[in-house]
């Protein structure tokens, strides 16, 4: 514990504040992961720890080691950049996989998911003709609607 006494008091207060706030945000993300109801809500909760928790703890670590050793210690930036690059990839892939599994009728579940295709223009015009559905023609992605005449 020799290195802890070498810090000036202002740096100790800043480092302690960063570490405490980062750990608290990570804990709040864990609480949200347990308490939220739907999977698509739970997907958002631990990102508190992924973004702010990682950022604050890495900043505190860089500041502490830089002041304790008297030189710039920047290798924690590697972890930060890696987490910043990989977290959107993993969570997007997980969300897309969950959406694909929820649209599968064979797996029993009670999640409410939006349908794959938007309603076609005649159906949208019949129930009131919202301006968004009237201007944009529906993509003829499904094979059944491809042969319909345009209104």
């Amino acid at each position: 514990m020799r290195h802890l006494e070498q810090l000036p008091p202002w740096a100790a207060i800043i480092v302690a504040l960063f570490v405490v706030i980062g750990a608290t945000l990570t804990l709040l993300g864990g609480v949200g992961l347990v308490r939220l109801k739907s999977f698509y809500q739970r997907l958002h909760a631990p990102t508190l720890g992924y973004s702010y928790g990682t950022l604050l703890i890495i900043l505190a670590s860089m500041l502490m080691f830089s002041l304790a050793e008297g030189r710039a210690v920047l290798h924690e930036l590697m972890v930060g950049i890696f987490i910043m690059l990989t977290t959107p990839i993993t969570l997007l892939m997980l969300g897309r996989a969950a959406l694909r599994r929820d649209r599968d009728r064979k797996l029993g579940h009670d999640e409410v998911v939006p349908p794959r295709n938007r309603p076609t223009p005649p159906a949208a015009a019949k129930d009131g003709g919202r301006d968004g559905a009237a201007k944009i023609p529906a993509p003829a992605a499904d094979g059944a609607g491809a042969g319909d005449p345009q209104p």
Partner: protein, 93 residues
């Protein structure tokens, strides 16, 4: 005085991160569907990485940082493989 502030903050951070790890483990064991378990596992990886960083700050040791880096890389690979498996039913197409 400086050392007491830092020791208290690092101890609190370790306890909070261990609690977050336990909550993520609870979600992984309890998760009603497979994607909940994968999300809990990914959260456990990130929380363990942050816990290693905080323990390394308390010890003044650089080797914990390398452990944290290895955990981050392994967590990324694990979650991507599990998500690919959930989406397609196979990992390598």
């Amino acid at each position: 005085m400086t050392a007491e502030i830092l020791r208290f903050a690092l101890g609190y951070a370790q306890i909070a991160l261990i609690l977050a790890l336990a909550l993520a483990c609870w979600r992984m064991l309890l998760g009603p569907r497979a994607q909940d378990r994968v999300l809990g596992l990914d959260t456990m990886y990130i929380n363990a990485m942050l816990l290693f960083l905080v323990i390394g700050m308390g010890n003044g040791n650089v080797f914990f940082f390398e452990g944290a880096l290895v955990i981050a890389v392994l967590g990324f690979v694990t979650t991507v493989c599990a998500a690919k498996f959930l989406m397609r039913g196979e990992v390598i197409e």
